[in-house]
Amino acid sequence: MSSDKIIQVTDADFDEKVLKNDLPVLVDFWAAWCGPCRAIAPVIDQLADEFDGKVVIAKMNVDENPATPGRFGIRAIPTLILFKDGNVVEQITGAVGKTVIENALSKVA
């Protein structure tokens, strides 16, 4: 029941959908074997609805897409990276409460 506002990104379309996006993009790097990734999923869903039209919320499965996590030195999940104009604005590692993510998004929204 993930929000329909969330887009899925892959190694193949990451540059186009994330780096070249006109809006800021929050990418949630996750995998099926990661408990805390599941724990924050409902928070990510809510944020996708709340920031609709202001920040794009994207998910990338690190199991299926190893290149992009490697490119950003990701060695822990969940990792959330907020991109704006192709640059990393903020990186959040580990499961955090909604407020922490909300504060980061509010800075760019």
Partner: protein, 303 residues
């Protein structure tokens, strides 16, 4: 409206309390900042929860507990409590989004979180080789060399788990013997991929953008060595998540909440259950028992 009961935290203690509260037809809900589960979610395999002789994954156990709680109508709402204040006979829960929830009773079941080493490089390299969750991050260290810090159940269990991925696992412990339960010790001691570094503490974590090495201090010899590793997993115990209520109820100096055997805290109407409570054994089996007892106490005290 004023609720009968609000349970803060949706780990095993909170979910068990919800099962008993739901069956007692108490009105209220669980407040959970993420989705239910708590620390169990980062556990690979739960081997000591009675009734599951083959073990059960942390995932599955959480799913079963959540489904069980939902069945009796005591739901879960998303929210993070930043402070609890007493207001006459009731309690005012102030959430991080400044919303306010008022309830006659509160069960604090917020559990605990991992302790940090507090050394140079730890914060900066978190997510870049420093990890507190082997099940989450182990697969990033395939064929690499990692260190595990700690000597308790979690450290030893996760060190064994990490041998599935890493080519070598150093287990660094500040004493000369493990504190972990025997069955886990035996598994680690007989695992060829695990090398023990006794009597030692980690002084610093080094690396430019990724963990490259750690500085180790041997307490017996006084020797300081630099150990090249690709990752470091830290399991040196937990600290209770009770900052939001320490002004209200009695705790020990570390913040664990003191209760009587009904799970009542020093403040009438506030109860505590699970890992946030001061007790000798921090396990899922004790958490669920305390959740049940706390809900029973609420029912008893409200009637």
């Amino acid at each position: 409206m004023i609720h009968d009961l609000v349970i803060v935290g949706g780990g095993p203690a909170g979910l068990a309390a919800a099962i008993y509260a739901g069956r007692a037809k108490l009105e209220g809900f669980i407040l959970e900042k993420m989705s239910p589960g708590g620390q169990v979610l980062i556990t690979d395999l739960v081997e000591n929860y009675p009734g599951f002789p083959e073990g059960i994954t942390g995932f599955e156990l959480v799913e079963k507990l959540s489904a069980h709680a939902q069945k009796f109508g005591f739901g879960v709402k998303n929210g993070e409590v930043q402070k609890i204040e007493s207001e006459g006979e009731n309690f005012k829960l102030i959430l991080t989004d400044d919303k306010i929830v008022t309830s006659k009773t509160v069960i604090v079941a917020t559990g605990a979180t991992h302790r940090k080493l507090g050394v140079e490089g730890e914060e900066r390299l978190t997510g870049r080789g420093v990890s507190y969750c082997a099940t989450c991050d182990g697969p990033f260290f395939r064929d690499q060399v990692v260190a595990v810090v700690g000597g308790g159940d979690s450290a030893v269990q996760e060190a064994v788990f990490l041998t599935k991925f890493a080519q070598k696992v150093y287990l660094i412990h500040r004493r000369d013997e493990l504190r972990a339960i025997k069955v886990l010790q035996e598994r680690a001691l007989s695992n060829e991929k695990i090398e023990f570094i006794w009597d030692s503490t980690v002084e610093a974590i080094e690396g430019k953008d990724q963990v490259e090495s750690i500085r180790i201090y041997n307490k017996k010899s006084g020797e300081v060595t630099n150990l090249p590793v690709d990752g470091i997993f830290i399991f040196i115990g937990i600290e209770p998540v009770t900052g939001f209520i320490r002004d209200l109820v009695n705790t020990d100096e570390r913040g664990f909440i003191k209760t009587d055997e009904w799970m009542r805290t020093s403040i009438k109407g506030v109860y505590a259950a699970g890992d946030c409570r001061l007790k000798p054994l921090l396990q899922i089996v004790t958490a669920v028992a305390e959740g049940a007892t706390a809900a029973y106490a609420v029912e008893h005290d409200l009637s």
